[in-house]
Symmetry: C2
Subunit: 412 residues, 2 copies
């Protein structure tokens, strides 16, 4: 990889060759991929991008893959960026855009990380990829690996919802339901990966994954014709995504494609916000309980807190915590004003942005992008609980007329 210099530990600074199967530093710290921006500047232009396929692989010069590594088969990335004028007006900002990353092959932003895992596994000559997860990481890995002809072993805790297991089984993953909690599930996956040498797609252990995730901000910038907004709002769980988003923005700044860095808005659930608490109290992060229905960001022990905290601080970011009710209200608001159906964790960024507008932290002169990280079809159960009931009527026009009158609905 002529565009990559090495990997460096964010804790102790130790450097490693960027081999395909890198994991964490000997000190336990997370690794970060360091690029040769001079090389990239000499080889990538905005003009060149215009002719490339609309997938995350259009940004090859900014990605840690070999020049001859093939694109992965599923169409990951280049999700739509919508101008959300009506929602922006409701919130009271100058301009708002929505990046709907639920429009990915397995319906979440995690496809970006899993596609990267598949590309790197191929480079490593691996035939099997493994991870432990019950959520979007698992389903995106299973789907992207199946399309590429790689096999997967996926470890889930026994409490994993049947629907998610069904997705994994449909993609042909070898699924191991571990009798125990998530920690025990993770331990068994680690033991198995050590024993058989499978390629490791555990987030925050494999440093390439957030490089895949960063493509979401590369796309936002290109879709905005490189004119960046004041704020970029995103939900935060283990911290890999916001870290990736920031990395992408810094990359673009370093190569001169953008001349302004937006401030990050880190949105977490009131019931589980260890990253935001560390920022708010300016202290090291500490574990928290996981009391939120936004399951994809219910992470009490964020595995990539170091990178996430650095990203928020470097960007002069804003943290905001939202209740489950505020999350579900944002889901409905996105549905009714934008036709976008996001999963609870997926709309938490928008819920946070709304709260900051109400608090006057963000206002009439500000522009913002809000990223929706996953599709609402992933979690229909919670939508059902919050969306309200339809009108129940007999086949009788008079009854309908009366009910519409009672509710004061406009019929024209």
């Amino acid at each position: 990889m002529r565009n990559v210099k090495y990997a460096r530990c964010v804790k102790c600074g130790r450097q490693y060759d960027a081999t395909p199967n890198l994991t964490t530093c000997a000190c336990g710290g997370i690794l970060d991929i360091v690029y040769d921006y001079d090389y990239i500047k000499a080889n990538l232009t905005k003009e060149k991008l215009k002719t490339r396929p609309h997938t995350m692989w259009r940004y090859r010069e900014l990605l840690p893959v070999e020049e001859d590594t093939p694109d992965t088969p599923l169409r990951v990335g280049w999700s739509p960026l919508y101008e959300a004028d009506r929602l922006g007006e409701l919130l009271g900002v100058k301009k708002l855009w929505l990046k709907d990353d639920g429009q990915n092959p397995t319906a979440s932003l995690k496809d970006r990380a899993s596609a990267m895992a598949v590309a790197k596994a191929k480079e490593a000559g691996a035939k099997i990829i493994a991870c432990s997860s019950t959520g979007n990481a698992a389903s995106s890995l299973a789907g992207n690996a199946a399309a590429a002809g790689l096999r997967t072993f996926i470890f889930v805790p026994e409490r994993a919802p049947k629907g998610k297991v069904a997705q994994l089984m449909t993609f042909g993953a070898n699924v191991i339901s571990v009798q125990g909690n998530y920690e025990e599930t993770f331990e068994l996956s680690k033991a198995a990966i050590d024993k058989w040498g499978w390629y490791n797609r555990n987030a925050a252990i494999n440093p390439y994954l957030s490089e895949g995730k960063k493509t979401v901000s590369l796309e936002i910038a290109e879709q905005l014709d490189w004119k960046m907004p004041d704020y970029l709002a995103i939900s935060v769980g283990d911290g890999c995504t916001i870290a990736g988003v920031w990395k992408g923005l810094k990359d673009l700044y370093a190569i001169g494609f953008i001349d302004k860095l937006p401030r990050l808005i880190s949105a977490q659930a009131e019931g589980c916000h260890p990253v935001n608490r560390a920022i708010a109290e300016n202290k090291p992060w500490e574990p928290m309980e996981e009391n939120t229905l936004a399951d994809s960001i219910a992470v009490g022990v964020p595995r990539n807190a170091d990178k996430a905290l650095a990203a928020i601080r470097e960007s002069n970011g804003v943290v905001v915590n939202v209740t489950d009710d505020e999350i579900m209200a944002a889901q409905k608001l996105l549905g009714t004003t934008c036709g976008v159906f996001g999963e609870p964790a997926g709309v938490t960024g928008t819920a946070g942005l709304k709260k900051l507008c109400e608090q006057g932290v963000i206002g009439r002169d500000d522009t913002a992008v809000s990223v929706v990280t996953g599709n609402g079809l992933k979690d229909v159960a919670n939508a059902i609980r919050f969306c309200g009931e339809p009108m129940k009527l007999p086949n009788d026009l008079d009854a309908l007329v009366a009910e519409i009158g009672r509710r004061g609905l406009k019929t024209e």
Copy 2:
């Protein structure tokens, strides 16, 4: 619309001006939009298309909208066309492509028809669109209308699954749950549409909807660089989709963009195949019971049978019926070999293609495209019933080693 001549009844041939709120002919027949191909030939080139946005609206010259009608807001269309080499090899064809139309904003091909309905409703000056449906037509209408700032009234039978109702409510539709069966639901919607003059998005009544659907075959052709396959396989319910697919192909042939028309493969469920039965027995179609789990094509009284039958016959098409078990086997096959998760009705085309390959009707020298019409996340319940169980194990590596050995799984 300079590209449209008029609408013509497929039954009696009567012609109508192509006003935005056309419905059926006075004789009850379905209308078909007739284009001025000379005008289109003079105004649309393959070269022009290359610079256009990747949505269904790139084909404006071939669509029945006014020149100044705005694109609808959601990113509908330009779903991926995958080269499905491994699946093609398994089935025994020369080349196979998969069009994954579950990758649309509300996760089905119906977004194409609903986006068209929204565009025409805007032309008609309507503020409200109505339809009766429990499925993809309803959710796609609710989503596309919400994004465009139009209101919807959607009539569902009381048996409608809660999850689908939740989608509608989240998009802010006015949902009326009618105490009765589908026929009664349809009647109340008709009475309400007549009373209030809402824009009508009932398939096969509004002739513009299949013009939206045809964009799926326009895209397939362009994505294949205008080199058409021997066969195009698709699932068939009320007949609007296959009719639209054929219309798109004929359009391209008429303007000289393609020089070959593929034969259509009409796949229906063994438990409900009135269209295929009419072809097989060369008789008028008759109603059938609706005994299949593929709910989106469980249509015993196909509302667009006339256009569908004409399409299959004109293309020298092939009909094939598949059992529910064959449908669910195709779902798993698509998941494991392509990383594509389709809903049961969505994978019925592939199930049919597989069966025809096994029967030797289609073989080693043939090329085919199979369209997946909806996302598997729409119906997780059936996937769960058919996908099998994971391995259930304690956190114990020895137990995992033993289980993997017992199952004969490859670990490298």
